[in-house]
Symmetry: C2
Subunit: 121 residues, 2 copies
Amino acid sequence: MRSTKQRNVILDIINNSYDHLDAYGVYEEARKQIPNISLGTVYRNLKSLENAHLIDIVYDGADKIRYDKKDFHQHFVCSKCHKIIDIYDLNFENINTYKNNIVMNCKIILEGICEECQKEE
Amino acid sequence: MRSTKQRNVILDIINNSYDHLDAYGVYEEARKQIPNISLGTVYRNLKSLENAHLIDIVYDGADKIRYDKKDFHQHFVCSKCHKIIDIYDLNFENINTYKNNIVMNCKIILEGICEECQKEE
DNA sequence: CTTCTAACTAGTAATGATTACTATTTAAGT
DNA sequence: ACTTAAATAGTAATCATTACTAGTTAGAAG
C-alpha cells in the first residue's frame, strides 16, 4: 500500500474525528483539504484502510456504514435515531442502562479469519 | 401491526433458518410459499419485524445486511469471506481463537433507546 | 538524479440494494 | 356485513457503492 496524499488525509480525518462519519461525510471533510478529491477515491481508500486494519467499521442500524478510528472501545446505538455513542467504561454488571440510555440488546461480534480462509495462503 | 400471510411466512423463514439470509434470500424462500410476493413487501416486513424486536440484524462486514432469529448468541464474522458463524459458547478467557478461527477484533454493541428519544413519547 | 512500472487518482458510467409510489386488497374492529 | 386503516403487488425512483478508463505518481532500481 503506497502512501498518497489522499489516503493520508482520509486516515487523518477519521483519526481526528469524534463523529462516526459515513463515506460521504469523509468525502466532504476531505474536500476541504483536497477540493477535487473523488468520491470513488474515498470509498477505495476506506476499504483498503479497513483491510489493513487501520480503521474500523460501525454499522448504525439504519443501512449506513460508518467509519471509526482504531481505538478499543464499544458502542451504544440508538434504535430510534441511530445515534452512536462511544463507550469507554463498559460495565457488564449493570448492563440494562448505560448513562441514562436504555439498553435492550447486546451484540458481541468477533472478527477474524475463519478456518477455511487460513488455509488459502 | 396486523398479522398477514406474508409477514407470518417471512418470520417463519427467519426463525427456522440456520443461515443468515439477506433480504433477497428471504424473498427467494418466501416465493416458494407465496409465488407472487413482492420484494418490497419483504423489505417492508423485515424492517417492521426488526422494529418490533421480533428479528435481529447482522452486518456481515461486506455491505450486506443479514437477518437472524431472536435467540441470544454471538457471531464470528470472517474478514475475508464474510462467513458468519453462530457462537453459543463464548468464552472471554481465551478470546484469541474460537474453534480454529483466528479472532482479531471483538466488537460489542449495545442497542437501545437513547436519552433524547426516551423523552419524545 | 533519471527511468520504470505497478499502484493510485479523477471523473464518469454502471450496478444493485433499498425505498417510494399507486391502485388494489384485506385484517380485524364495530 | 360494513368500514377503514394497514398491507400488498408491481413498478419506478433513489442513492450508496463499485467499475471503468485514461492519465498521474510513489517509490524502487539502476
